[in-house]
Symmetry: C2
Protein backbone atom coordinates (compact mmCIF):
# COMPACT_ATOMS: atom_id res chain seq x y z
CA UNK A 1 0.00 0.00 0.00
CA UNK A 2 1.40 3.41 -0.88
CA UNK A 3 1.80 6.40 1.41
CA UNK A 4 -1.35 8.10 0.16
CA UNK A 5 -3.52 5.01 0.76
CA UNK A 6 -2.05 4.64 4.25
CA UNK A 7 -2.89 8.27 5.00
CA UNK A 8 -6.50 7.74 3.82
CA UNK A 9 -6.73 4.69 6.07
CA UNK A 10 -5.52 6.68 9.05
CA UNK A 11 -8.08 9.46 8.46
CA UNK A 12 -10.87 6.91 8.12
CA UNK A 13 -10.27 5.82 11.71
CA UNK A 14 -11.57 9.19 12.93
CA UNK A 15 -15.17 9.10 14.15
CA UNK A 16 -17.65 9.99 11.40
CA UNK A 17 -15.00 10.09 8.67
CA UNK A 18 -15.60 7.87 5.63
CA UNK A 19 -13.64 7.41 2.41
CA UNK A 20 -14.89 10.68 0.82
CA UNK A 21 -14.03 12.89 3.78
CA UNK A 22 -10.69 11.14 4.26
CA UNK A 23 -9.87 11.83 0.61
CA UNK A 24 -10.92 15.46 1.02
CA UNK A 25 -8.71 15.90 4.09
CA UNK A 26 -5.71 14.19 2.48
CA UNK A 27 -5.94 16.06 -0.84
CA UNK A 28 -6.38 19.35 1.01
CA UNK A 29 -3.39 18.80 3.28
CA UNK A 30 -1.03 17.46 0.61
CA UNK A 31 -2.04 19.67 -2.30
CA UNK A 32 -3.21 22.91 -0.75
CA UNK A 33 -1.82 23.36 2.75
CA UNK A 34 1.24 21.30 3.57
CA UNK A 35 1.97 23.63 6.46
CA UNK A 36 -1.32 22.62 8.08
CA UNK A 37 -0.36 18.98 7.48
CA UNK A 38 2.93 19.48 9.29
CA UNK A 39 1.12 21.29 12.11
CA UNK A 40 -1.33 18.41 12.52
CA UNK A 41 1.40 15.76 12.46
CA UNK A 42 3.44 17.73 15.02
CA UNK A 43 0.63 18.56 17.43
CA UNK A 44 -0.62 14.98 17.31
CA UNK A 45 2.84 13.61 18.02
CA UNK A 46 3.37 16.12 20.81
CA UNK A 47 -0.09 15.48 22.21
CA UNK A 48 0.59 11.76 22.38
CA UNK A 49 3.83 12.42 24.23
CA UNK A 50 2.69 15.14 26.59
CA UNK A 51 -1.00 14.73 27.22
CA UNK A 52 -1.97 12.33 29.97
CA UNK A 53 -4.82 12.40 32.47
CA UNK A 54 -5.28 14.44 35.63
CA UNK A 55 -5.18 12.01 38.54
CA UNK A 56 -7.87 14.01 40.39
CA UNK A 57 -10.48 14.61 37.67
CA UNK A 58 -9.56 12.36 34.72
CA UNK A 59 -9.41 15.20 32.17
CA UNK A 60 -6.56 15.68 29.71
CA UNK A 61 -3.57 17.26 31.42
CA UNK A 62 0.10 17.77 30.78
CA UNK A 63 0.77 17.72 34.52
CA UNK A 64 -0.16 14.94 37.01
CA UNK A 65 -2.81 17.28 38.45
CA UNK A 66 -4.59 19.73 36.12
CA UNK A 67 -4.72 23.46 36.79
CA UNK A 68 -8.39 23.35 37.84
CA UNK A 69 -7.82 20.64 40.45
CA UNK A 70 -4.63 22.38 41.63
CA UNK A 71 -6.50 25.68 42.18
CA UNK A 72 -7.03 25.77 45.95
CA UNK A 73 -9.49 28.65 45.77
CA UNK A 74 -12.07 26.24 44.37
CA UNK A 75 -14.71 24.57 46.51
CA UNK A 76 -13.69 20.98 47.16
CA UNK A 77 -17.07 20.04 48.66
CA UNK A 78 -18.88 20.03 45.30
CA UNK A 79 -18.01 17.75 42.39
CA UNK A 80 -19.59 18.10 38.93
CA UNK A 81 -19.52 15.04 36.67
CA UNK A 82 -19.36 15.91 32.96
CA UNK A 83 -18.95 13.81 29.83
CA UNK A 84 -16.19 15.72 28.03
CA UNK A 85 -13.69 18.57 28.43
CA UNK A 86 -16.00 20.65 26.18
CA UNK A 87 -18.88 20.19 28.65
CA UNK A 88 -16.56 21.25 31.46
CA UNK A 89 -15.60 24.36 29.49
CA UNK A 90 -19.28 25.17 28.95
CA UNK A 91 -19.95 25.03 32.70
CA UNK A 92 -16.85 27.13 33.41
CA UNK A 93 -18.02 29.72 30.90
CA UNK A 94 -21.18 30.34 32.98
CA UNK A 95 -18.89 31.67 35.76
CA UNK A 96 -21.52 30.16 38.07
CA UNK A 97 -19.60 27.16 39.36
CA UNK A 98 -16.58 27.19 41.65
CA UNK A 99 -16.46 23.50 42.61
CA UNK A 100 -14.34 20.72 41.14
CA UNK A 101 -14.99 18.29 38.27
CA UNK A 102 -14.84 14.70 37.20
CA UNK A 103 -14.58 14.26 33.44
CA UNK A 104 -15.93 10.88 32.30
CA UNK A 105 -14.47 11.12 28.77
CA UNK A 106 -17.60 9.52 27.36
CA UNK A 107 -20.92 8.08 28.48
CA UNK A 108 -22.17 4.55 29.02
CA UNK A 109 -23.13 3.14 25.63
CA UNK A 110 -23.51 -0.64 25.47
CA UNK A 111 -23.85 -0.53 21.69
CA UNK A 112 -20.41 1.02 21.35
CA UNK A 113 -18.96 -1.22 24.04
CA UNK A 114 -18.64 1.57 26.61
CA UNK A 115 -19.45 0.11 30.02
CA UNK A 116 -19.30 1.54 33.56
CA UNK A 117 -16.11 -0.44 33.88
CA UNK A 118 -14.39 0.95 30.80
CA UNK A 119 -15.53 4.47 31.78
CA UNK A 120 -13.75 4.11 35.13
CA UNK A 121 -16.72 4.40 37.51
CA UNK A 122 -14.53 2.75 40.16
CA UNK A 123 -12.00 5.60 40.10
CA UNK A 124 -14.80 8.18 40.16
CA UNK A 125 -16.44 6.57 43.22
CA UNK A 126 -13.10 6.58 44.99
CA UNK A 127 -12.57 10.25 44.11
CA UNK A 128 -16.06 11.21 45.27
CA UNK A 129 -15.52 9.40 48.60
CA UNK A 130 -12.47 11.49 49.55
CA UNK A 131 -14.28 12.80 52.64
CA UNK A 132 -14.36 16.40 51.38
CA UNK A 133 -17.01 16.06 48.70
CA UNK A 134 -20.57 16.62 50.03
CA UNK A 135 -22.56 17.10 46.84
CA UNK A 136 -22.14 15.54 43.42
CA UNK A 137 -23.78 17.37 40.51
CA UNK A 138 -24.34 14.92 37.67
CA UNK A 139 -24.02 17.10 34.58
CA UNK A 140 -24.14 14.47 31.82
CA UNK A 141 -26.04 15.36 28.68
CA UNK A 142 -29.82 14.97 28.53
CA UNK A 143 -29.53 12.38 25.79
CA UNK A 144 -30.63 8.78 26.20
CA UNK A 145 -27.10 7.66 26.88
CA UNK A 146 -26.32 10.61 29.14
CA UNK A 147 -29.48 9.93 31.14
CA UNK A 148 -28.64 6.23 31.48
CA UNK A 149 -25.15 7.15 32.68
CA UNK A 150 -26.63 9.61 35.18
CA UNK A 151 -29.09 7.00 36.46
CA UNK A 152 -26.35 4.47 37.15
CA UNK A 153 -24.05 7.05 38.72
CA UNK A 154 -26.79 8.47 40.91
CA UNK A 155 -27.49 5.06 42.38
CA UNK A 156 -23.83 4.27 43.07
CA UNK A 157 -23.09 7.69 44.58
CA UNK A 158 -26.13 7.72 46.85
CA UNK A 159 -25.04 4.40 48.28
CA UNK A 160 -21.82 6.14 49.33
CA UNK A 161 -23.98 8.55 51.34
CA UNK A 162 -23.38 11.51 49.00
CA UNK A 163 -25.93 14.15 48.09
CA UNK A 164 -26.62 13.79 44.37
CA UNK A 165 -28.16 16.51 42.16
CA UNK A 166 -28.74 16.99 38.43
CA UNK A 167 -28.89 20.09 36.25
CA UNK A 168 -32.39 21.58 36.01
CA UNK A 169 -34.49 20.78 32.97
CA UNK A 170 -36.85 23.44 31.72
CA UNK A 171 -37.41 26.21 29.25
CA UNK A 172 -34.31 27.87 27.83
CA UNK A 173 -33.76 31.51 28.70
CA UNK A 174 -35.83 33.52 26.17
CA UNK A 175 -37.96 30.44 25.41
CA UNK A 176 -41.67 30.59 24.56
CA UNK A 177 -44.11 27.97 25.83
CA UNK A 178 -45.79 27.67 22.46
CA UNK A 179 -42.64 26.56 20.68
CA UNK A 180 -40.86 24.43 23.25
CA UNK A 181 -41.04 20.63 22.81
CA UNK A 182 -43.54 18.79 24.98
CA UNK A 183 -41.17 16.67 27.13
CA UNK A 184 -39.24 19.82 28.06
CA UNK A 185 -42.42 21.71 28.90
CA UNK A 186 -43.70 18.76 30.97
CA UNK A 187 -40.38 18.60 32.84
CA UNK A 188 -40.45 22.32 33.56
CA UNK A 189 -43.97 21.99 34.93
CA UNK A 190 -43.04 19.04 37.16
CA UNK A 191 -39.89 20.79 38.44
CA UNK A 192 -41.62 24.15 38.97
CA UNK A 193 -39.99 26.37 41.58
CA UNK A 194 -41.32 28.90 44.10
CA UNK A 195 -42.13 32.11 42.21
Amino acid sequence: MDAFARLLEAFERLPGVGPKTAQRFAVYLLAEDRQAAAQLADTLGQGLQKIGRCSRCNTFSETPICSTCADDTRDGTVLAIVETPADQQALEATLGYRGLYWVLMGRVSPLEGVTPNSLGFEALLERAADGQVREVIIATNFTTEGEATAFMLSDLLKRKGLKVTRLARGLPVGGELEYVDLPTLAASLRDRRPG
Copy 2:
Protein backbone atom coordinates in the same frame (compact mmCIF):
# COMPACT_ATOMS: atom_id res chain seq x y z
CA MET B 1 -1.49 27.55 24.71
CA ASP B 2 -1.39 23.95 25.92
CA ALA B 3 -0.85 20.85 23.78
CA PHE B 4 -4.56 20.01 23.66
CA ALA B 5 -5.54 23.49 22.45
CA ARG B 6 -2.80 23.36 19.80
CA LEU B 7 -4.12 20.01 18.60
CA LEU B 8 -7.66 21.43 18.33
CA GLU B 9 -6.29 24.36 16.33
CA ALA B 10 -4.56 21.99 13.91
CA PHE B 11 -7.73 19.94 13.36
CA GLU B 12 -9.75 23.10 12.74
CA ARG B 13 -7.60 23.85 9.70
CA LEU B 14 -9.10 20.84 7.90
CA PRO B 15 -11.86 21.72 5.42
CA GLY B 16 -15.32 21.58 6.99
CA VAL B 17 -14.00 20.97 10.49
CA GLY B 18 -15.15 23.40 13.18
CA PRO B 19 -14.51 23.53 16.93
CA LYS B 20 -17.00 20.73 17.78
CA THR B 21 -15.65 18.24 15.26
CA ALA B 22 -12.06 19.13 16.17
CA GLN B 23 -12.86 18.43 19.81
CA ARG B 24 -14.52 15.14 18.85
CA PHE B 25 -11.48 14.03 16.84
CA ALA B 26 -9.02 15.06 19.56
CA VAL B 27 -10.93 13.45 22.43
CA TYR B 28 -11.40 10.27 20.40
CA LEU B 29 -7.74 10.00 19.46
CA LEU B 30 -6.31 10.84 22.88
CA ALA B 31 -8.85 9.07 25.07
CA GLU B 32 -10.07 6.13 23.04
CA ASP B 33 -7.62 5.21 20.31
CA ARG B 34 -4.09 6.45 20.82
CA GLN B 35 -2.90 3.87 18.32
CA ALA B 36 -4.98 5.58 15.62
CA ALA B 37 -3.48 8.89 16.72
CA ALA B 38 0.03 7.54 16.27
CA GLN B 39 -0.94 6.09 12.90
CA LEU B 40 -2.30 9.44 11.72
CA ALA B 41 0.75 11.37 12.95
CA ASP B 42 3.06 8.85 11.27
CA THR B 43 1.28 8.58 7.94
CA LEU B 44 0.97 12.37 7.74
CA GLY B 45 4.66 12.84 8.47
CA GLN B 46 5.58 10.12 5.98
CA GLY B 47 3.16 11.51 3.41
CA LEU B 48 4.75 14.95 3.67
CA GLN B 49 8.16 13.44 3.16
CA LYS B 50 7.39 10.94 0.43
CA ILE B 51 4.41 12.19 -1.54
CA GLY B 52 5.15 14.59 -4.34
CA ARG B 53 3.54 15.05 -7.74
CA CYS B 54 3.86 12.98 -10.89
CA SER B 55 5.63 15.14 -13.46
CA ARG B 56 3.46 13.70 -16.24
CA CYS B 57 -0.06 13.88 -14.77
CA ASN B 58 0.16 16.04 -11.62
CA THR B 59 -1.34 13.39 -9.31
CA PHE B 60 0.16 12.40 -5.98
CA SER B 61 3.11 10.09 -6.47
CA GLU B 62 6.03 8.77 -4.50
CA THR B 63 8.07 8.47 -7.67
CA PRO B 64 8.85 11.22 -10.22
CA ILE B 65 6.46 9.47 -12.64
CA CYS B 66 3.41 7.64 -11.25
CA SER B 67 2.68 4.00 -12.06
CA THR B 68 -0.17 4.88 -14.43
CA CYS B 69 1.98 7.23 -16.52
CA ALA B 70 4.86 4.73 -16.44
CA ASP B 71 2.63 1.94 -17.77
CA ASP B 72 3.58 1.74 -21.46
CA THR B 73 0.63 -0.50 -22.34
CA ARG B 74 -1.62 2.53 -21.96
CA ASP B 75 -2.78 4.63 -24.88
CA GLY B 76 -0.77 7.86 -24.98
CA THR B 77 -2.98 9.45 -27.63
CA VAL B 78 -5.89 10.07 -25.22
CA LEU B 79 -5.69 12.26 -22.14
CA ALA B 80 -8.52 12.49 -19.57
CA ILE B 81 -8.62 15.57 -17.37
CA VAL B 82 -10.12 14.92 -13.93
CA GLU B 83 -10.47 17.05 -10.81
CA THR B 84 -9.13 14.68 -8.15
CA PRO B 85 -7.40 11.31 -7.65
CA ALA B 86 -10.80 9.95 -6.53
CA ASP B 87 -12.33 10.90 -9.90
CA GLN B 88 -9.43 9.17 -11.64
CA GLN B 89 -10.05 6.05 -9.56
CA ALA B 90 -13.75 6.14 -10.52
CA LEU B 91 -12.86 6.20 -14.24
CA GLU B 92 -10.31 3.42 -13.75
CA ALA B 93 -12.93 1.30 -11.99
CA THR B 94 -15.08 1.30 -15.16
CA LEU B 95 -12.30 -0.69 -16.88
CA GLY B 96 -13.39 1.25 -19.97
CA TYR B 97 -10.50 3.66 -20.29
CA ARG B 98 -6.92 2.82 -21.24
CA GLY B 99 -5.58 6.30 -21.95
CA LEU B 100 -3.62 8.60 -19.67
CA TYR B 101 -4.71 11.29 -17.21
CA TRP B 102 -4.15 14.81 -16.01
CA VAL B 103 -5.26 15.41 -12.44
CA LEU B 104 -6.13 19.07 -11.82
CA MET B 105 -6.23 18.72 -8.01
CA GLY B 106 -9.19 21.06 -7.86
CA ARG B 107 -11.39 23.15 -10.10
CA VAL B 108 -11.48 26.82 -10.96
CA SER B 109 -13.31 28.61 -8.16
CA PRO B 110 -12.82 32.39 -8.05
CA LEU B 111 -14.65 32.58 -4.69
CA GLU B 112 -12.06 30.29 -3.10
CA GLY B 113 -9.20 31.99 -4.93
CA VAL B 114 -8.58 29.06 -7.29
CA THR B 115 -7.63 30.48 -10.69
CA PRO B 116 -6.47 28.84 -13.94
CA ASN B 117 -3.03 30.01 -12.91
CA SER B 118 -3.01 28.44 -9.47
CA LEU B 119 -4.46 25.23 -10.94
CA GLY B 120 -1.51 24.96 -13.31
CA PHE B 121 -3.30 25.24 -16.68
CA GLU B 122 0.07 26.18 -18.20
CA ALA B 123 1.64 22.83 -17.29
CA LEU B 124 -1.45 20.97 -18.53
CA LEU B 125 -1.36 22.72 -21.92
CA GLU B 126 2.31 21.85 -22.25
CA ARG B 127 1.59 18.22 -21.37
CA ALA B 128 -1.30 18.00 -23.84
CA ALA B 129 0.87 19.42 -26.62
CA ASP B 130 3.47 16.64 -26.39
CA GLY B 131 2.73 15.59 -29.98
CA GLN B 132 1.34 12.19 -28.98
CA VAL B 133 -1.98 13.31 -27.52
CA ARG B 134 -4.78 13.51 -30.15
CA GLU B 135 -7.88 13.68 -27.99
CA VAL B 136 -8.47 15.30 -24.61
CA ILE B 137 -11.48 14.07 -22.64
CA ILE B 138 -12.50 16.74 -20.16
CA ALA B 139 -13.94 14.73 -17.26
CA THR B 140 -14.47 17.45 -14.69
CA ASN B 141 -17.60 17.23 -12.55
CA PHE B 142 -20.95 18.46 -13.88
CA THR B 143 -21.13 21.08 -11.15
CA THR B 144 -21.12 24.81 -11.84
CA GLU B 145 -17.43 25.05 -11.03
CA GLY B 146 -16.55 21.87 -12.93
CA GLU B 147 -18.45 23.14 -15.98
CA ALA B 148 -16.71 26.51 -15.83
CA THR B 149 -13.35 24.76 -15.61
CA ALA B 150 -14.27 22.57 -18.59
CA PHE B 151 -15.37 25.58 -20.61
CA MET B 152 -12.07 27.38 -20.09
CA LEU B 153 -10.00 24.26 -20.75
CA SER B 154 -11.93 23.37 -23.87
CA ASP B 155 -11.20 26.76 -25.37
CA LEU B 156 -7.48 26.65 -24.57
CA LEU B 157 -7.03 23.07 -25.79
CA LYS B 158 -8.88 23.59 -29.07
CA ARG B 159 -6.58 26.50 -29.85
CA LYS B 160 -3.71 24.00 -29.62
CA GLY B 161 -5.44 22.03 -32.39
CA LEU B 162 -6.47 19.17 -30.10
CA LYS B 163 -9.74 17.24 -30.35
CA VAL B 164 -11.69 17.95 -27.18
CA THR B 165 -14.54 15.80 -25.84
CA ARG B 166 -16.61 15.69 -22.66
CA LEU B 167 -18.31 12.83 -20.83
CA ALA B 168 -21.85 12.19 -22.05
CA ARG B 169 -24.71 13.62 -20.08
CA GLY B 170 -27.92 11.64 -19.98
CA LEU B 171 -30.05 9.20 -18.06
CA PRO B 172 -28.24 6.98 -15.57
CA VAL B 173 -28.25 3.25 -16.29
CA GLY B 174 -31.57 1.93 -14.91
CA GLY B 175 -33.04 5.43 -14.93
CA GLU B 176 -36.70 6.19 -15.68
CA LEU B 177 -37.74 9.23 -17.73
CA GLU B 178 -40.50 10.12 -15.32
CA TYR B 179 -38.17 10.59 -12.37
CA VAL B 180 -35.05 12.10 -13.91
CA ASP B 181 -34.50 15.84 -13.44
CA LEU B 182 -35.42 18.08 -16.37
CA PRO B 183 -31.98 19.47 -17.30
CA THR B 184 -30.63 15.91 -17.50
CA LEU B 185 -33.55 14.74 -19.62
CA ALA B 186 -33.17 17.78 -21.90
CA ALA B 187 -29.46 17.06 -22.29
CA SER B 188 -30.10 13.42 -23.12
CA LEU B 189 -32.60 14.49 -25.78
CA ARG B 190 -30.21 16.99 -27.31
CA ASP B 191 -27.32 14.47 -27.28
CA ARG B 192 -29.45 11.58 -28.64
CA ARG B 193 -27.47 8.91 -30.43
CA PRO B 194 -28.23 6.60 -33.36
CA GLY B 195 -30.47 3.77 -32.10
